[in-house]
Subunit: 213 residues, 2 copies
């Protein structure tokens, strides 16, 4: 999977009906591979082998490694955004509690795969020097969207007086996601949820100390 | 550079005198390559080519890619620790100012290479799933050392009453480095110093708000 060239419809034409399933299986395998190891070091043969797809059928489904990468980013983003929605829209708990719940769920999610899987968006951002520029644009948009979602939870906390009245929710949301990707990285290194727990707890504690007296 | 096997003294024996220089050049090239792209996607041939060393002489200098990687980690750590010492030991400015100065220098350092070079330690931590376990141990120690150094600057701030009396300096130092690696990652993505500036500024602002009244 070293080539970003466009090569269409190479190899054995798949039987009708199996095309959608194969595409989906490849994207699913891509999400796992990108979450574990990023983009650059992923081999096409290995990826195809992991889903039992014959060599050479990749370019029947995707115009290039770049096109495939962008679809994997979309699939992961859709998955992660649904997750954020679940936690951040949970009106049954207070706003700051929603952030804590998201962080705890993320810890459980990383523990489930023995801390081998990180964040696809963070992994790709880390490798940006070696990635196509189309990725940069999309990854930046994804972070901006996550920031907006978190900022609105912080605004709800601000409206309740749960955080200091001078809090800049947009800046705090940007700060959170900047640091959170570092926490995911450290969790992979330490094979432990400690960095995620530490980052979320300290972030929230700092906010809460600024409560109206 | 795909093999971690031990292969000694393969290839043309170098002329006496050039051995040390070649080793050093390879390590320097390794630091740059690891800072730009991490470990897994670096090819041995490319690395050798970049320093004009003949193919096949790598294993004369290093027992394995893993041994080379560990020496690159040591070289980068020595460089970065000297940098930290310069800023964190600068008694001519207040403790929190030392942290700000370090962050500004880091921004300038990333700008100098157009945000293509990140932190070797962070890049390798990100790839941990694909790296030898000897790396995990060493990278964890390096972070622990950086935490101790920062914690002692924060303790100096605490002693002066520049941060809240209930501040846990060790935890705050750990929080800083967890988030800082995220900021380096985002700076690479955005090709901008903004994430570093935002992270350091918000971290320091949160600390300062806890000053004794």
């Amino acid at each position: 999977m070293d080539s970003g060239q466009v090569k269409r419809r190479r190899g054995r034409p798949p039987k009708s009906g199996e095309i959608g399933a194969t595409r989906e299986a490849l994207i699913r395998a891509g999400v796992v591979a990108f979450a574990e190891r990023g983009y650059s070091s992923i081999g096409l043969e290995e990826l195809l082998g992991s889903v039992g797809v014959p060599k050479g059928s990749f370019y029947y489904h995707f115009a290039s490694k770049e096109a495939f990468g962008l679809e994997v980013i979309e699939a992961y983003t859709a998955y992660f955004t649904r997750k954020l929605d679940v936690w951040f829209s949970d009106d049954s708990v207070l706003p700051l509690e929603r952030i804590r719940n998201f962080a705890e769920d993320a810890q459980a999610g990383m523990a489930r795969y023995d801390y081998n899987r990180g964040c696809v968006i963070g992994n790709l951002a880390q490798e940006m020097g070696a990635l196509p520029d189309t990725f940069r644009e999309r990854l930046t948009e994804v972070f901006a969207d996550w920031e907006r979602r978190l900022s609105s939870v912080l605004s709800a906390a601000l409206a309740r007086g749960d955080i200091g009245p001078d809090s800049d929710c947009d800046e705090l949301a940007a700060f959170f996601w900047v640091g959170w990707e570092g926490a995911v990285l450290r969790a992979k290194l330490e094979r432990s949820g400690r960095p995620l727990e530490l980052f979320a707890r300290t972030f929230l504690a700092q906010l809460c100390r600024h409560q109206r007296p």
